[in-house]
Symmetry: C2
Subunit: 295 residues, 2 copies
């Protein structure tokens, strides 16, 4: 399928269903999802629904997919109204990540993946945070250190697998993995999924969530600064420009995580400690979005 | 949505997703499926996949939906290549059947529902078979006896619920509910789901499955005749005309139940006893389809 978020559509899923039925795919067949996050989400959704579900193996080829998208069984396609609005939970039988595939990624697509890795460090693992700070240069240089990459990827992927195993259907703990995503999804929706890569949008969203955490007195300024410095070290954006603030605020209320019209935020209470909060004052949300987004 | 199998499409599902997102439907909302089998399957599929699954209550208004489609959590839409090829398992929180809604059904749509009721009797329940034989006139007259209808519906729906509770994902026992469906789905596919109502196609398919059972020496001729007589008493078809036999045979190999290119049949070993068989000789399948289908 063509690269990019635009392929995560009901239309492309329909083409894949038609192809599978032409091939006479049966319930005992297996779908292999070879590619990045878009391929994993789309192929996962098709595997979840074709013949009411056939087996799936994830073969992620990007930093983002290896550390996040390929793990946990969340599959989905987008609607015009927002990201991942139609989907299913469908666990892969296996996830096989070959870090040698990362050497051919374009630089921007390589770096965006560290948005989710930094997220795992901030919400779950102070040691991963120290690793990222220590090996930042080795991971971001033109020919990244494969050992450092494998070490960080294995640790980050294990964290994700641990969380989703304990809460596969996102009834509790798993929600903390949405750190940064409330704002990220809104930015992606308003820009038609074309301006920012997912990890970049998450990076901007994490900057917002950390700022809200600090403003609500949950973390100190030093923790906020440590996160922002690390995001900068990996070349990740902290702000978005060229979009209307009101559109971003409006899109946030379309998010799946909205309950009774209240946006739900994942906030930090310290490095490695995340909490779910739906009591962020509307003025603080608006002020934060104003600080992140410029027209 | 418009009545008829044509509404069980990815396109109509897409319209419902768009409507739900316009209404800002949230994860805590509930979809009520008020209608017959098509509405239940379609709304069930949308509920299974919108926001990765929201709650569903089935409110069936046809004999077929009350006795079969609304119970068991199977939800699906059709592809051009075949019926129910894209779907999910999504149990309703409740199924509420008000038999007074049956009094306004067109006669043909009323009678087709007894295809599935007769199926439950043949594969599971000699007592239900005797009830249907005894109350046939009361159930098929212009103003059907509501007490007889409620009694038969309650018994038949309970049988279905019992089977699907013990095997919600069709890994074993539940497969016997597909009695008559191997041929029925092929006939529906070849006729573009427009010629025969589902219960009528199932009736033709059950005539075929019973004949195969008799030819393979699993049931005697008296059992076969008893089933065919009951189908006739409820005004249900035993044969299809106007379609190409080869097309029907070909479509059977597209069915979800096909494994390694072998069509799987549910056969009778007596009234109330069904078995899954994938060793029906190809010649017997062809001969049976020739007997059922005329050009």
């Amino acid at each position: 399928v063509p690269a990019g978020e635009a392929s995560k559509s009901l239309r492309v899923a329909g083409e894949l269903y038609a192809w599978l039925s032409e091939q006479r795919a049966e319930r005992a067949d297996v779908i292999l999802a070879l590619g990045g996050g878009v391929v994993g989400d789309l192929a996962g959704y098709v595997a979840a629904t074709y013949l009411r579900g056939i087996a799936l193996v994830q073969l992620p080829t990007s930093v983002l997919a290896m550390n996040d998208a390929a793990i946990g069984g969340k599959a989905a396609v987008d609607l015009a109204a927002g990201k991942n609005l139609v989907g299913a939970f469908h666990q892969p039988r296996a996830v096989i990540a070959d870090t040698s595939t990362l050497s051919t990624l374009p630089r921007r697509a390589y770096l965006e993946g560290f948005g989710e890795v930094i997220k795992h460090a901030m919400i779950l693992d102070p040691e991963l945070l120290r690793q990222l700070e220590r090996r930042g240069q080795a991971l971001t240089r033109a020919n990244p250190d494969i050992d450092a990459l494998t070490e960080v990827t294995a640790r980050s992927a294990r964290l994700k697998a641990l969380i989703v195993s304990s809460d596969p259907h996102e009834r509790g703990l798993r929600a903390i993995l949405n750190y940064g995503h409330t704002i990220a999804h809104a930015i992606e929706s308003v820009t038609g999924y074309s301006e920012y890569l997912h990890g970049e949008a998450v990076s901007i969203g994490m900057a917002g969530a950390a700022r809200i955490s600090e403003r609500m007195g949950l973390i100190d300024e030093e923790t906020l600064t440590r996160q922002l410095d690390l995001q900068r070290a990996f070349g990740l954006p902290l702000q978005a420009s060229g979009l209307a603030r009101d559109a971003v605020l409006d899109a946030m209320l379309m998010d799946k995580k909205v309950v009774d019209g209240k946006a739900r935020f994942i906030l930090l209470e310290g490095i490695g400690h995340a909490v779910v909060r739906d009591d962020v004052p509307a003025e603080l949300i608006e002020e934060t979005v104003r600080g992140l987004v410029s027209p």
